[in-house]
Every structure is written in C-alpha cells, then in structure tokens.
Symmetry: C2
C-alpha cells in the first residue's frame, strides 16, 4: 500500500470505544456515497474518474502537452481555486517549488488569473517578453472574473505577437463540454478544447483535464498518477475503518473535532509539500466549512515553521490537532560535510544524510507535540512518486466526502463563495445588479 | 499618517463600553512596556531601534550590500525563523514574490538553512552552479541545526570554487556581538560580521542587520524603511486608543478573542503580501501562543483564497476574525482590454484598472464577511513604499508587545520551541543527550 495512516500519536486523546462508535456512522456515510443518495450527489464524478475517464481526451491531453513542450518557453495556466491548485500542487510535489528557477527541458509554468493583482499581471507579461508562450485557460463558464480578465490580456498578447492564426495554435481551453460562451468561442476560433466534467466540482478536478494538461506539460508521467489513483479507488472501497485508512482518517478527524480540536494543521516536512497543503485546504475548507460547522484547515511546513508557529502549537490554546504528510523515501540524498573545527558542535552529524536528520526532527516533533497536548495523525507515503501522489490525492478526496457526511453537510457545494462576488459585481456596476449597488453604496455612505 | 486602522467592520461585533474598558488595560500595558517592568524586559531593544541603531554598522551594511551586488549573481541568505522571515517579507513586498524570475540589476536572493530538505539544498546548489555566489549566514549562536548545516555546505561550495581567500570576500556573518563560536570563527577567518543585538528577539529583528543586509542587497532603500519605522515610533507613543491605532489594534483583537473569536486571519489582496503574512504569523504566534493561550494566527491572499478558504470564512464556525492589510496605492496600473465579442460578459469593466476591480473585491468581501458573522479590522497603508512598510513593521511589533501584555503572557520568550529540538538532538545521538535518547527509544519500542 503506498499510503498508510498511523494513529499512534492520536490514540492518547481518544478512547477505544470512540473508534467503535464511529464505525456505524462510517457505514452510513459509506452507504450514502455508494448509493449516491446524499446531498451533492450530482457531483460524484471524481469517485470513478480514475477508471471512467475519457480515453480519447486523455490521449489528446498527452499530445497537446507534447506540442506545448515543443512550442514554448513559458506556459501560462489561467484558472482560480480548483482550476489551478491541483496542478500547481502536483507540479511542485513531483518537480519542485523552484521548478521555474531550475534548468530543464520543459517550459516554465506560471499560474495567472488567480488574483486581481496589477503588479502580478505586469510581471508575468514581462517574463513572457521575448519568449515563446502558450496558454491554457481553465474555466467552466468562462465568466469567472479573475481568469476571464487574464484570458483577455494574454489572448491580446498572443495575437499581437503571433497573429490570430499563430495564437490559435497556442491557446488551449479547458471548459464545459458543450454549454457556455467560452466553449462556443473556442470552437468558433478553432482552439483545442478539453472538458471540465459536469459531475466533478473544481476542488475534486485535479485528475481531469483541468489538472492533467498542465501537469503533463511539466513532464510528470500522468499514467503513473492515474495508476496511483486507480489503486486507491480499489483499495479504499470498504467501510471497515480497521481496514480502510481513508475512512479511519475521516472518522478520527471528526472524533477529534467533536472533542474540541477544531483546527486541523496539515504538516509537511519538505518545501515541495507546500502547495499540496494549499490544495488540501481548499478541498476540506470548502467541503466542510458551511452551516456554521467545519474543521478550520491550516498548514505549516516544518522544520521551517517550527521556528514561527511551533511555539503556538507546542504551548498555545489546545484546540488543535495536526495531520502530518510524511514521505518515506524522498529520493535525493545530501550528506552533511565534516568540519574539522566543529564550530557549530554538529560533528556528530558529519556524513549523515539530511533526510535522516529530517526524519528525527519529525519523530522528535511528534513526541513534543503529543506531550504538549496536540493529537497527531500521520499519513505516510511510500515515496515521492507520481503513483504515490495519485494515491494520496484520491485518498484525500474520498476521506473528504466521507468526512463531510459524518459532519452532516453537503461536501460538494460552495454557496458561500457567491456572497463576495455578488457584492463585487454590484459595486463594479455590472448590469443587472443596480438594486444591490444602491443598497451597498447607501451602506458605504452611512459609514461616513 | 502612512498606516491607519479602520474598525468600521468590527464595531457591529463589539459594544462601545468594551472600548472604554480596554483603555485601562492598555494604560497598564503601556506603563509596563514604557517602564520596562514587564516579563521579557531584557528584549526591548526593538522599541528604540529606529533611533538608536548602530550608525557605524548601518554604514557598513550599505557598503557590504553594494559589494555583494557587484560581486555575485546569486546571494544565499542562511537563517531560520526571525533570521529570514523579515528580510523575505520586505523583499517580496517592495520588489516582488517573483523577484528571482524577473530581469534586474541586483542579485537573485535565495533563502537557505530554513528547512532540513535534501532536495531543496540540492536545487539551490544546482542554481548556484556556474554563477557567482555570496552568502550571509545569520545565527546568534551559530549552533542552530538548520542554518549551521547550510553554512557547512555553502562554505564548502565557496571554498572549492574560490579558494579560502576568495571565499573570505564572499561570506558575511550576522551573529552575536562578542560571544559564540560563530563570532570567534568569523573573526579568525576574517569574514565581515554584523550584529544580532542581544536585546532584540529574532521575530523583532527585521530592522537590525539581520534583516537590513539582505534587504539592502535587493535594492530596497533601507533609509526609507528606517524613516518609516522612526515615524511610527514617534506617532505610536501614547496609550489613548482613540489616538493610537496601534494600541487600538491590540485592544480590539483582544476584545474579539475574549468574545470567542480565537482565530485571526491576516488578509492581503496582493501576492506581494504573502510573506508579510508569514512574518506576522511568527510575530504573533510566537509572542502569544503560550500558557495555553493566544489567538491562532492564519493567513490568506484574496481574491486567490476566496476560491479556497472563502467558503469556510463565509459560512463555517464563527470563531474567526479577519485583519485586512490594504495598500491604497499599489503603484502599477493594468487596464482591462475591451473584447468586441464580450464572451465573458465583462465589457462593463473594459478600460478599467485592475486595482479598481481589486478594491471593489475588497469592499464586497468586507460586507459579505461581516454579514456572515466575521468581524473585520482593516489596516490601511498609504502606498507600497519602503516608508509605509517600515511604519507597518513597527506598528505590528509594538501592537504585538502591547497585545501580549493585555493577554497576560511574556511576549518576548519562546520556551516551547526547545521541546522538539531536545527530542531531535536526543534521537540524533548528540553527546550529552544519552538519557533522553534511551527514554525516547523506549517509547518508540513500546509503540511496536
């Protein structure tokens, strides 16, 4: 098994019977998911995606990735939320957070359309200057403000540089299968298109074309990623928590939160895990944070953040638990040089591999935090391979669905995301929002 | 005034009398700080640092920065916690989070010694290959594991490349004024040294040589940064919260947390604010997270994270408040192109500046989150200048000290950071830790 849950460091905070009591609830959540009878059941496409994905499109993704690799120096991925976090998490995990700074045979990859920053946009345009560029715009409707604005700007950039004909070969569109203005426009312009599936929400879409095209451009073997997800889909199919670590994770995090551990910190011990923690924060925060409920998702990278949030975790308010994602075989080795003068007193580490030191830091931190009153779950990956990562992505997705049903929410909607958008559109004077605009402007006046 | 606190969006969650009641406590905290009579009073050097900094050293910092700018392509800053977060936050805020990817006249700057990652180390070494390199190692004792290991590796790299003589000109050491093995070694080797002041803790050290040397290398005008801090030091001197926004921030966050708003999310609306939120998380988390107390510090960048944590903030557990850092004049402008086909329906924005859209997103989000039950404080900066940022850094430092005294903790120690280190040293077999090693190994065996 490429992913394993270790509960040794959570057990002191739970009683045996809580495991038993959770099983009945797990069975119910399992049935709800299995029979597709629960809230949000129109969005369960991710469950069988590793088996039922569109094989014709999958082959086109690989072909398009090869074409992009050949024809550009810079690949701009335009998307927000689930339309960029999965791809970025996978590229950083399997390649590097310094991917764009390292020499390589594949294009630099930058993510745009995920903010409203003038300076970020101008910097990306400066980076593209004098270099060959392709773009992939990812938006189901094509009307989400951030990616739509970025698409306007980069389409203009490409058409100026290559002409409409040339730009056609450099624009790749991932959008609705049939509906939506972006789909219509892409077809009219002759852009190659890929599909945001109807039954897969953004935060569950990393293994669809949404994630796979950018991931393939970075040189990751997407066959391996899918193979890992397929293995997880098969391995994590039964509800018995003593045999299914994914369900156990869902059960234990709910049990801990019901004991008042209401913030979960996802912990990585390598910088390459940072964007994965961001992907996880969307997955869990957006799935569970509703109806006044939900575990608050936070994240840290150790040992870096042991020197910033470490003090709080060790000694602050005891409403926290941690989930450590630990990669057993990181691959790279780095021995510590010997220093004859031993000025730092660290010669007892001379010749030792940094991975070994990192592992002892992890082990020492587990003991310290448990002793400090913070339960720790450990999710252990075999290695830093696309197969293990594919397994982990599916593991987290399925655990999230089960966890949401345990909590008693619809894990597949996100009604709260509209609230700021409506206000923003009104304030920006979008046609159709006149009434709200007047109301908000009256509120602003009243403040003065 | 270059920094202003707006409490309009927190007021609905507090009563007028709470402001009054907090004033007496503010007065007490103020006196404690002013008379240096409180816990941690050996670490108040930051209070007068903008006035009393070492002028001779300051001139040497500028000279060293100019020398480094001339003599290298890559500048490696080695430090962890407060020894890198401040510099990185300032460089990203004033230059760019994409600083290393942009064309410029100043060296690339990478931060090392802030993790135990073999892959990160090897990538940095690969980036240095074939390029001219200088390093700045920042460690008060010289014995902290992460920077000490990185210093071993980069010193070896430099000595191989340039010889001992050549390396001497490329190694800059920021450490204790007189004690410690690193200071002794640096003097013996003839490295130029700078001082980690005795009375300034790591998380308060950004305006000392710790932060200023790397910041100056990036081309930031450190005179302006210091001028901003000086202005803040003078402006934020009286305890009356109606006249001192820094004290008001300290009072309101304590008042909110006592009402059960126990997690504070620092919000930026620009990617260039991200590392500043990390610096802030260390400052507040490490200062307040002790004795079972403290507000849990989290952070987001909007609009990016409105599409990940936005759902939770809008509709999840109501134990949150937000503090928005808003920069009024971001400098750069980016107009939105017109699209005759209007495929995204956004032509009502044609020709509008992205900053305007960003501001409406901020205003819309403030209303949405307040309506959703999340109090919002807004800290407004005049512009994205070193002067405004210097002011803000001091504002946050002083508010943190006052806030810690209001909470009833020692804001200047971090005893909890030692817990994992002791365990790690024991597990690694550090001489002198034999007894703890046996105890921990017995615990590991017992788990099996």
């Amino acid at each position: 098994m490429s992913v394993r849950l270790i509960d040794t460091y959570a057990k002191p905070f739970l009683s045996e019977k809580e495991y038993e009591y959770m099983q009945a609830q797990l069975n119910a959540a399992h049935t709800t998911l299995q029979e597709r009878s629960g809230a949000g059941n129109a969005f369960l496409g991710w469950v069988d995606l590793p088996r039922d994905y569109d094989k014709e499109e999958y082959a086109r993704i690989k072909k398009a990735a090869a074409k992009i690799q050949k024809s550009c120096d810079v690949f701009i991925v335009i998307g927000i939320g689930g339309s960029y976090l999965g791809a970025r998490a996978v590229v950083e995990f399997l390649k590097s957070p310094l991917y764009n700074n390292l020499k390589k045979d594949t294009p630099d990859i930058y993510f745009s359309g995920c903010n409203i920053s003038a300076s970020n946009m101008q910097e990306l345009l400066a980076i593209c200057e004098g270099r060959d560029v392709c773009i992939n715009v990812i938006s189901k409707s094509g009307t989400t403000t951030e990616p739509a604005v970025a698409f306007r700007i980069f389409r203009e950039f490409l058409e100026k540089k290559y002409g409409t004909e040339g730009a056609r070969e450099r624009i790749f569109v991932t959008t609705d299968r049939a509906r939506g203005t972006l789909k219509g426009f892409a077809d009219a312009m002759g852009y190659e298109t890929f599909v945001v599936p109807d039954d897969v929400g953004g935060r569950f879409s990393v293994l669809s074309a949404v994630g796979l095209l950018p991931i393939a451009v970075s040189g990751v073997e997407i066959d391996e990623l899918m193979a890992g997800a397929t293995a997880a889909r098969e391995a994590l199919a039964e509800p018995d928590l003593t045999k299914n670590d994914c369900y156990k994770y869902a059960a234990l995090r709910n049990a801990l939160s019901r004991r008042g551990k209401t913030t979960e910190i996802l912990v990585g011990y390598e910088p390459y895990l940072q964007m994965l923690t961001e992907w996880w924060k969307q997955l869990y925060g957006e799935s569970e944070g509703k109806d006044g409920k939900g575990i608050f998702p936070a994240s840290v990278i150790f040992s870096t953040d042991l020197h910033s949030l470490g003090q709080y975790i060790q000694d602050g308010v005891r409403n926290l638990f941690e989930t450590v994602v630990w990669v057993k075989e990181s691959g790279t080795k780095q021995p510590i040089p010997h220093d004859p003068q031993n000025i730092d007193g660290l010669n007892f580490l001379s010749g030792k591999d940094l991975n070994y030191v990192n592992e002892m830091a992890k082990q020492g931190t587990l003991f310290a935090h448990v002793d400090g009153g913070v339960p720790n779950l450990v999710i252990e990956l075999e290695d830093r391979s696309p197969r293990s990562l594919g397994y982990l992505l599916y593991f987290f997705e399925k655990a999230c669905a089960i966890s949401g049903y345990l909590l008693g929410v619809n894990p597949f909607d996100q009604p709260g995301v509209e609230a700021y958008k409506k206000n923003m559109f009104a304030l920006l004077g979008k046609p159709g929002y006149e009434e709200q605009k007047n109301a908000l402007e009256a509120r602003i006046s009243a403040q003065k």
